[in-house]
Amino acid sequence: MRLYKKEGNTVQILSFPNDNVEKGDYLLIEDPRVNKKLITQVIDVQFANVPGLLEELLRDSTTEQFVYGEIFDPLEVSSHMNYIQDAWMLLCKIRGTIENEQLGVNVSWLPSRSKSGVKKFPISSLLTHMRDNGNLPINIGETKEAFRFTINAHDLDGKLNIVTGKKGTGKSHLSKLLVLGLIDYGAKVVVLDLNGEYTNLCFSSKGEKNEYHDRVHVLTPGVNLKVSLAQMDLKVMLNILVHALNLPGTSTREFRRIWQSLQQRRVFTLQELGEAIRNWKCNQHVRDALFSRYYSLLNSGFFTDNVAKAMAFEEFFEEIRKGGALILNLRDVSSVDRQIVVEYTLGKLMDLLNQWKIRAVFLFAEEAHLYLRETYWDDIVTRMRHFGVFTTFVTNQPDTIRENIYRQADNIFLFNFTNERDLETVSRAARVDSETVKSIAQDLPPHHCLILGKAVKDFPMVAKVKALDVQTMGHTRLFFTDTN
């Protein structure tokens, strides 16, 4: 391999197929005169613009269909010609330097074109140079060179993460790995599980209880997740009414008065609330509006007057005090009820964090746009983060996540996308140039992930996500079954 050209932070390197270089690989350009090395990453592999190639191809295409023949080439010169024809031009981005064996970002020098040597730089070597002292490794899978690939749990702590990729590429699989990895180090995790994919994390692929059985708790709204009105805070209830049930302003004001009257009477039951609305002196339209929302709350099955059945989040967190996950199973929950549950959960989380009843929580939100109200997006990346809610968004529709979320994301775990619009959206991430995202993500095979951000010290890396011995439940139910 030879250094050919540099423009901005892009270098072009001449290579040949037997160099076996792929997109995402790291190359080291070593200039022996200055004892410095430039770390570059291949973002695209193109054919080298070899002079005379068009004539070659034209000649070959002429012969393919109509002309047959032999070549007498005793010196086997043709193999060298073919070799030249197959020359590659590697488009690489400069990621950093190694100077006196120290990793740096000073790329203000230019290596010699004639003297520099170019060689592959295995990710394992790069990781060694990073000298990451992280003592909380989460095993993600392996590098291309079959080297164990880990990220540090510290790099998820206090961070905003995005896991995205098209359907069937392995996003949820990685999220589960991260969830279990965090649990291993005693973290508290809440998963907003839209499709019930995480509900069997506590079982092995053979259906037996696994090591996480006591640490993963599935909460299904209306089944084992019910709350009483007494557990509700007025602010949370108003959030539910306004944001989930679209209660107008006038009706909200009346509801606040009703709630305060119940508070004074210390009677917080659904029945009493219904009676209060019925007997409240107010405009009939307001009453109708309140009643319709009241019945929505009633029919959600999420609220109960039976104190014995009502569960407190504090208790759930107590159960996982040494680390564990609360899986909020939102499968088969209607859109409105989903929003009610999420409003309650996030409100309660903030409440618990405010009171320092829990230190911090890692929130995994699958397809958050389906249940998260508009104002929460900004809250999550600003206010809630400071209180200790560290969110990981998991989605196959990257355009449902706002641009500012991408810009502020600390880590992005990117799986394959072929749609240019999707790639365009993700490429807005501030942690890497858009060319890298677009070029590498487009060719990622299934279960391979491009990791960007702090978890990889801003050296984008491709990893093959390891298999997980849990019932992942992420498979789509099929009509046609394999008869073999």
Binding site: G52, E55, R59, G69, V77, M81, Q85
Partner: protein, 315 residues
């Protein structure tokens, strides 16, 4: 024969320029394609300079034979054959070629180093032509160039022998020249066919015969075989009767594709023998690897002296 780089010594340069004095006649011979499946074979070679060493030059030659038989084109490419020619070995290489190709027993003096590439190409071409003449029967053999003889690499004896072998096996040699210096009354010979209706041959009779050692063993025609702007000088063996000449060209019309009056078989032979830039790099790489040569760019003296005004390629 094709030269990827300008050659200083080739057939066209050796072709005599005909005088404009004397009486001559131009006869247009209309042609009708004789449909059939007459085998058509063509030969072409290319030579190219690969580089220089401290002691000599590196060049490569390649030949191609293309033949059309039963509606299909087939080819045989020979080479490329790279050579390192020095003042010390040039005579040995040259005579090795001559002895092998011409079956000549006596040694000849080798040309200057700069002409060796052309000479070796010519020798290979003659050898391939001999091979085709000996193996084909009742066929049309297409040569690239003229039937001029009397030069060092095209001795009269050799060319005569080639044509005789071809005639004896009922083959007809048609030699197409892509360019010609022949002029009549100041006009380029091929321009005479501008207003002729294709397909036709223009036969020019009464040419003043050139004197000296270099002369043509063929009759000179202008061939305009298809509509279009191109027509070519066509040399056909003088010893072939006129009827067979016309019949041969008509068989060519009926058996081969012609684009801009040029036979496809010969076009393919040219394409298969020509070197591309990629191939030159490939040959350089092959030589460098096998013989441990290091390739360095020679300073361009013109560029050094004249900067942006030194535009000519430093050969």
């Amino acid at each position: 024969m094709t030269f990827n780089q300008p050659a200083t010594e080739n057939f066209e340069d050796a072709t005599p320029v005909l005088g404009t004095h004397g009486s001559f006649t131009i006869e247009s011979i209309p042609l009708k394609p004789l449909l059939g499946d007459t085998p058509v074979a063509a030969v072409d070679i290319s030579s190219i300079r690969i580089g220089e060493t401290e002691t000599g030059m590196l060049c490569a030659i390649r030949g191609a034979i293309v033949w059309k038989e039963k509606g299909r084109y087939k080819y045989l490419r020979l080479g490329p054959f790279p050579f390192h020619i020095t003042e010390e070995n040039k005579k040995e290489i040259y005579n090795l070629f001559r002895h092998h190709y011409f079956e000549a027993s006596e040694d000849a003096s080798a040309p200057s180093l700069i002409n060796m590439q052309t000479r070796m190409g010519n020798l290979l071409e003659r050898w391939l032509q001999l091979g085709i003449s000996c193996s084909a029967h009742d066929s049309i053999i297409l040569w690239d160039g003229s039937l001029t003889a009397g030069t060092a690499d095209s001795p009269v004896k050799v060319i005569s022998q080639l044509l005789e072998i071809a005639r004896n096996r009922l083959n007809t040699v048609l030699a197409f020249s892509k360019t010609t210096n022949l002029r009549l009354l100041g006009h380029r010979l091929t321009d005479l066919a501008e207003k002729s209706k294709p397909p036709c041959l223009l036969q020019i009779s009464g040419f003043p015969l050139p004197s000296g050692p270099v002369f043509s063993l063929g009759n000179v025609y202008v061939a305009k075989l298809t509509p279009g702007i191109c027509s070519f000088r066509l040399d056909i063996d003088k010893k072939v009767p006129r009827e067979r000449v016309i019949e041969a060209v008509q068989k060519l019309l009926g058996s081969d594709f012609l684009i801009q009056s040029y036979p496809e078989t010969l076009r393919l032979a040219h394409i298969f023998s020509t070197f591309t830039a990629t191939e030159v790099i490939g040959i350089q790489r092959c030589i460098a690897q096998q013989y441990g040569l290091k390739i360095i760019a020679r300073p361009n003296v013109r560029r050094l002296l004249f900067g942006p005004f030194g535009k000519d390629f430093e050969g």
